[in-house]
């Protein structure tokens, strides 16, 4: 019972202490910027074609909003405790390390997912005739998958690179998720964004796009994409839990 309820209690504590004006302002910005861009796009262009609008919305929310949100909430999971000198209080607890990490992972997913879903919902209001129930559910599911997988990735980066956490996470994201994921080689199949784009094209029935840009959208069935995303999420979280149990993080104490 504790195994299930403890991470939820950690999440509740983390949410409680996250309720600061600064964090709420960042959350509002995460919601507002894709909505503002979509609204601007609708004003300056008259296209009603679903593909460019869908790709734009996908890029703005499941990729950018989710990545930015998780960079802010998932990546510093350990470094904030080390810098705040509170890590020593957590390691002394019988269930401290792994439970806290899982709770922080869930908190990061919840914060970011809430922003992403709201951004998608509000963007739909500005899309006009291009908006459809299909686009809505695809975006909501992709945002969810993006949050779960990217949060696992950023938590792992935070656990390994606890000194230059943000810089490491940004470098990895730019190099791998926005660089290698477009490279037409085996390596792009191990990136999260490649799998998400593949699911986008498949669920939106964009067969032409898949044919013309196979290295971008892939040709695998959705089951493969989902399986790889699940494997990435579980693997990253598993390594993060193993590392957080074993690593001797500095406790900022002297004496």
């Amino acid at each position: 019972m504790n195994a299930l309820s403890l991470p939820l209690d950690v999440m509740w504590f983390e949410l409680r202490r996250s309720l600061t004006i600064g964090r709420l302002a960042m959350w509002v910005v995460l919601v507002a910027f894709p909505v503002a861009l979509i609204a601007t796009l609708r004003v300056v262009t008259e296209t009603t074609a679903i593909e460019p609008i869908g790709i734009t919305l996908y890029f703005l929310v499941p990729e950018v909003t989710c990545l930015l949100g998780l960079l802010l909430w998932a990546t510093p999971a350990i470094s904030t405790e080390i810098e705040g000198q509170t890590w020593v209080y957590l390691v002394l607890r019988r269930s401290g390390r792994r439970t806290v990490l899982l709770g922080k992972y869930l908190t990061a997913v919840l914060w970011t997912l809430a922003a992403a879903w709201l951004a998608i919902g509000l963007s739909m209001l500005f899309l006009g005739p291009a908006a459809s129930l299909q686009l809505l559910w695809v975006m909501l599911v992709l945002a969810t998958l993006s949050c779960l997988a990217h949060a696992a990735l950023f938590v792992l980066i935070g656990v390994i690179f606890y000194r230059r956490t943000m810089a490491s996470a940004v470098m990895y994201t730019m190099a791998v998720e926005y660089g290698l994921s477009f490279v037409p080689a085996v390596v792009n199949k191990f990136t999260i964004n490649y799998r998400l784009r593949g699911l986008l094209a498949h669920w939106m029935d964009w067969e032409m796009a898949r044919t013309r840009a196979e290295n971008v959208f892939g040709s695998e069935p959705p089951g493969t994409h989902l399986l790889v995303l699940l494997a990435i999420t579980i693997t990253f979280l598993g390594i993060a839990f193993y590392r957080v149990e074993r690593t001797e993080y500095p406790t900022q104490q002297e004496g």
Partner: protein, 311 residues
């Protein structure tokens, strides 16, 4: 309660704790050493935050870094501050108890009881960002005792406390020790520890230099050369006086010939003679500093004894 066997902790090439062997039954102990002596590294080994590079650490018979269930029996009040400004002590202490796997319903009761013990009931629902240093210190004690551990470890618990707070803390720790539960209390101020317990562990340079009661340590020091520093424009003119007596081990002139360091076994001989020498030779001496006024010098004396440089 605590068992260390040839425990060594290295940070790269730096020695944090150096070959400590120790077995402590349940009781109250003071861990004393200057800043940087290895007290906190030793505490981190005891709670399993660090794993020994060599040797073993066992708490209540198990290695804390391998079997974390033992942490339920230990409470720690670290030296570092708590920095959750918008969370109340009531919420934080409950959270800390909950992380031990204790049921939610019990957490609230345990947290409130611990906060009452440290006198924080009136302000426990205020955000910690509004607390004084002393209030945060008492909140840290509350989180350490809330889950009712068998061993309480405190690292510099008097930091930031005013005289009233110090008195209350002393009473709390005396009550804790009197209840028969274990207490390990780290400080660099001897008087703080003396007021709680008469059993000491002296640590310096990562080594356990001595352990025992105050009188046992005094007897070690009685056989250990101590350094007296004599400062003044005419300090160098005392050399010929010391050269003629048997109770001086060594002399060292430093600081532009204005400070004379005298290593000797029996400082009382010096105290009996020095005033008459100064008067007879009309010397200008501004200060005489004894080793026991300087904790580092005292520990250096013990370290020489520990290394076998003194028989």
């Amino acid at each position: 309660m605590i068992e260390l066997t040839n425990t060594t902790k290295m940070y790269g090439n730096v020695v944090g704790v150096n070959d400590i062997t120790l077995s402590l039954p349940s009781g109250a102990y003071g861990l004393i050493g200057p800043n940087g002596s290895g007290k906190t590294t030793l505490i981190n080994l005891l709670i399993g935050q660090l794993r020994p590079t060599l040797g073993t650490v066992r708490m209540f018979g198990v290695a804390p870094s391998r079997d974390r269930r033992v942490l339920r029996r230990i409470g720690l009040c670290p030296a570092t501050d708590v920095l959750y400004p918008n969370v109340s002590a009531w919420e934080w202490v409950q959270y800390q108890v909950r992380l031990h796997g204790i049921a939610r319903s019990a957490c609230r009761r345990l947290a409130e009881s611990a906060l009452e013990t440290v006198g924080m009931t009136d302000v426990m629902r205020r955000p910690m960002g509004t607390y004084s240093l002393g209030m945060r210190q008492r909140t840290k004690i509350a989180q350490a005792i809330a889950h009712q551990p068998e061993l309480l470890i405190l690292d510099e618990p008097y930091n930031g406390l005013d005289p009233v707070g110090r008195s209350e803390m002393t009473r709390l720790l005396k009550d804790w020790a009197a209840s028969g539960r274990g207490l390990l209390f780290a400080s660099h101020v001897l008087q703080e520890i003396e007021s709680i317990t008469s059993s000491f562990l002296l640590i310096f340079g990562g080594r356990l230099l001595a352990s025992g009661t105050a009188s046992e340590i005094e007897s070690i020091l009685a056989d250990t050369p101590q350094e007296i520093r004599i400062t003044g424009p005419d300090a160098a003119r005392l050399i010929h006086r010391f050269a003629d007596v048997e109770w001086v081990d060594s002399l060292q002139l430093t600081d532009g010939r204005t400070e004379l360091r005298v290593s000797l076994r029996d400082p009382t001989q010096l105290y009996n003679q020095i005033a008459s020498w100064i008067e007879a030779d009309s010397l200008r001496i501004t200060r005489v500093t004894a080793a026991d006024g300087n904790l580092t010098a005292l520990f250096e004396s013990l370290l020489r004894h520990h290394r076998g440089e003194v028989l």
